[in-house]
C-alpha cells in the first residue's frame, strides 16, 4: 500500500463533549469539580505568577478497573443509552443499523468524565450510510461524546456471516467452486478505484477454497444491497 501523504485533519460532524443533564448526580459531581477547579484557579491567581506553566494532567493515579471488559449488562446499558439519545433518534426509529462493537474507554485527566465508567459504542447506520461513534458515560447515563462521520467502521460479526451467506448462495460463485471448496473467511474490504463498487459502498471480500490449501476464488459482496458485485479467481486478484 502506498504510504499516505500528510493530510489535514478530516472534517467530521462532531458534537462537543456533552455536559451532564441538569439535576442529575453527574451534573452535581461535575459542578463540584468545576467549583473545586475554580477555587484552585483563584488561589493560583492570587499566589502564583501569571506565567507559571499549567500542571500536566495526573494520569499516574488512573484506576485500572476502568479498562476492564464491559459486562453484558453494561453493554446493554450503553446501547440503550445511545439509542435513546435524541441526536440519533432518526437512526433508532428507522432501525437499519448494526452495533459494530462496544468496548470500554478510559479518558485521561483533566477531562470532566475522567474516572467514570465509559463505553465506546460504534454503530453503522445503513439508512444514512454513516458511522456513529459514541462515548457513553455509564455512571451518569448520558452520551458524553457523539461523532457522526462517513468513516467505515469494521464489519460486525453479523455482517461477516451475512457476507458469507450472500456469496455462498450466488450462482456465479457456486458455478466456479469445486468439490470441498467452502467459504474460508470474510475480509473487510474497500476499493481504491472509483469504478469499483466497493470504493464507496460498505463491502466484504469472501474468500473460498479448501481448508488448509490455497484460496481459489474471491467474491466481493455489497452489504448495502446484499449482492455479489464481483467474482475473481484468486490468481487474478
Amino acid at each position: 500500500m502506498a504510504t499516505p501523504k500528510r493530510t489535514g485533519r478530516q472534517s467530521r460532524t462532531t458534537t462537543p463533549w456533552k455536559k451532564a443533564k441538569p439535576g442529575t448526580a453527574a451534573s452535581a459531581a461535575t459542578s463540584r469539580r468545576r467549583g473545586a477547579r475554580a477555587a484552585v484557579a483563584k488561589a493560583r491567581t492570587a499566589t502564583a505568577p501569571a506565567a507559571e506553566p499549567a500542571l500536566p494532567p495526573d494520569v499516574t493515579a488512573s484506576d485500572p478497573s476502568l479498562f476492564a471488559p464491559l459486562t453484558p449488562g453494561e453493554i446493554a446499558d450503553a446501547v440503550r443509552t445511545l439509542t435513546e439519545d435524541r441526536r440519533v433518534a432518526a437512526m433508532a426509529k428507522v432501525g437499519r443499523y448494526r452495533v459494530i462493537t462496544t468496548e470500554p474507554l478510559v479518558v485521561k485527566p483533566p477531562h470532566w468524565i475522567t474516572g467514570h465508567r465509559l463505553a465506546r459504542v460504534v454503530v453503522y447506520d445503513y439508512a444514512a450510510d454513516r458511522c456513529v461513534d459514541a462515548c457513553v458515560d455509564l455512571d451518569a447515563g448520558v452520551v458524553a461524546h457523539l461523532e457522526v462521520s462517513k468513516a467505515q467502521p469494521m464489519l460486525s460479526r453479523d455482517e461477516e456471516s451475512e457476507a458469507i451467506s450472500v456469496a455462498t448462495l450466488d450462482e456465479r460463485v457456486r458455478d466456479k467452486l469445486t468439490l470441498g471448496e467452502t467459504a474460508l473467511v470474510a475480509l473487510h474490504y474497500w476499493g481504491l478505484d472509483a469504478a469499483d463498487p466497493a470504493y464507496a459502498r460498505r463491502s466484504a471480500a469472501v474468500m473460498f477454497g479448501q481448508h488448509g490449501g490455497h484460496p481459489s476464488l474471491v467474491a466481493i459482496v455489497d452489504l448495502i444491497d446484499n449482492q455479489v458485485t464481483a467474482v475473481v479467481p484468486a490468481a487474478q486478484w
Binding site: M1, E103, K108, H145, D196, A205, P215, W237
Partner: protein, 270 residues
C-alpha cells in the same frame, strides 16, 4: 488468569480487544509510568497483480483488506510466559490463509518488544502486510513530552504532527525516533526492524482520537492514522505514536515485524 503482571521490573495490565489484539495499559517500569495504552489496531494486506502487460493498460489495483485481531479470530488462549530476563504475552490469530502471532515482550533492562510474527501465504505470493501499532506513552505523566527523529547525523526535534519514514539513518544503537519527557529527562527510543520499511506517525493526543475501529476513513480521504495528522505542535504536549511496518511476502516467511523499544532515564541502564 490475572490480567495484572508484575515481573522483570515491569508492572502492566492487559486485555484482549475486539479488533486490536492484546492491549497493554497502565504499564510501569521500576514503579514509574511508561505507557497509557498500546495496541495493534489493524494489519492491512494488499495484493499486487503480476503486471506483464503495458502498465497503462493494466487494470487498477484492488484495495486492501483486513480482519480484526481479537476475540473473533483468536486461536487458542493468550499465554503469559517468563523467559530469561523478562516476561512475554503471546496470542495467535487465524483468519482464512492469514495467521499471526502477536507478542509483547518485556525485558528487565527496560526493553519492550511489541512484535507480530506473520505466517501464511495469503491469496497468492504477491502481497504485502501493513501492521499498525499505536502507542500512547505517558512518560512520568501525560504532558511535557516531545518527539525527535534521527536525521542529518543527529537528533532533530519534531515541531509538529507528521509522518516520519525510516530513511536508513539511525544513531549508533539503531534508534531512529524517540519521545522525551522534559520534566524528568526520561525517554523512550524506537528502533525499527531493518526489513520493516517502517514509518512513524506522531500526532498530538486528543480525546476522541482513539484508535479507530477500522483503517478506512470516508470515501476519497486518507486512511487512519494519516487522517489524524494535522499541523498541531508536538513540543511540550501529550503525544501518540503509530508505528507502521510494510512487509512484502517472500519464501522466507514467517517474518517477525515490529520495533525494539528501549527506556532511558528510568534508573540503571545496561
Amino acid at each position: 488468569m490475572s490480567n495484572v503482571i508484575a515481573d522483570a521490573n515491569w508492572k502492566f495490565h492487559w486485555r484482549l480487544t475486539e479488533s486490536a489484539g492484546i492491549m497493554i495499559y497502565l504499564a510501569e517500569y521500576r514503579g514509574r509510568r511508561v505507557l497509557w495504552d498500546g495496541s495493534l489496531p489493524y494489519v492491512t494486506v494488499d495484493h499486487q497483480r503480476d503486471v506483464m502487460e503495458d502498465e497503462a493498460q493494466a487494470p487498477q489495483a484492488r484495495g486492501p483488506w483486513w480482519v480484526p485481531l481479537g476475540t473473533r479470530t483468536l486461536a487458542g488462549n493468550v499465554r503469559v510466559q517468563p523467559f530469561r530476563g523478562g516476561v512475554e504475552l503471546t496470542a495467535n490469530f487465524s483468519a482464512g490463509p492469514y495467521h499471526y502471532m502477536q507478542m509483547w515482550r518485556f525485558h528487565d533492562d527496560g526493553r519492550l518488544c511489541p512484535w507480530l510474527t506473520i505466517h501464511g501465504s495469503g491469496l497468492h505470493d504477491r502481497h504485502t502486510y501493513h501492521p499498525h501499532w499505536r502507542f500512547d506513552f505517558d512518560l512520568d505523566g501525560a504532558g511535557h513530552d516531545a518527539v525527535e527523529a534521527f536525521t542529518e547525523g543527529g537528533w532533530q526535534r519534531v515541531e509538529e504532527e507528521g509522518w516520519f519514514p525510516h530513511t536508513g539513518e539511525a544513531d549508533d544503537n539503531g534508534f531512529v525516533w524517540r519521545q522525551i519527557d522534559f520534566a524528568t529527562g526520561s525517554s523512550v527510543l524506537v528502533r525499527p526492524h531493518t526489513w520493516d520499511d517502517a514509518e512513524l506517525f506522531a500526532v498530538r493526543y486528543h480525546d476522541g482520537e482513539w484508535a479507530p475501529f477500522s483503517p478506512r476513513n470516508a470515501v476519497g480521504t486518507a486512511p487512519f492514522p494519516a487522517a489524524y495528522v494535522g499541523r498541531e505542535p508536538l513540543e511540550d504536549q501529550d503525544v501518540a505514536l503509530w508505528y507502521v511496518a510494510h512487509v512484502h511476502y517472500d519464501q522466507a516467511f514467517p517474518y517477525t515485524a515490529g520495533p525494539w523499544i528501549k527506556l532511558e532515564g528510568f534508573g540503571r541502564d545496561k
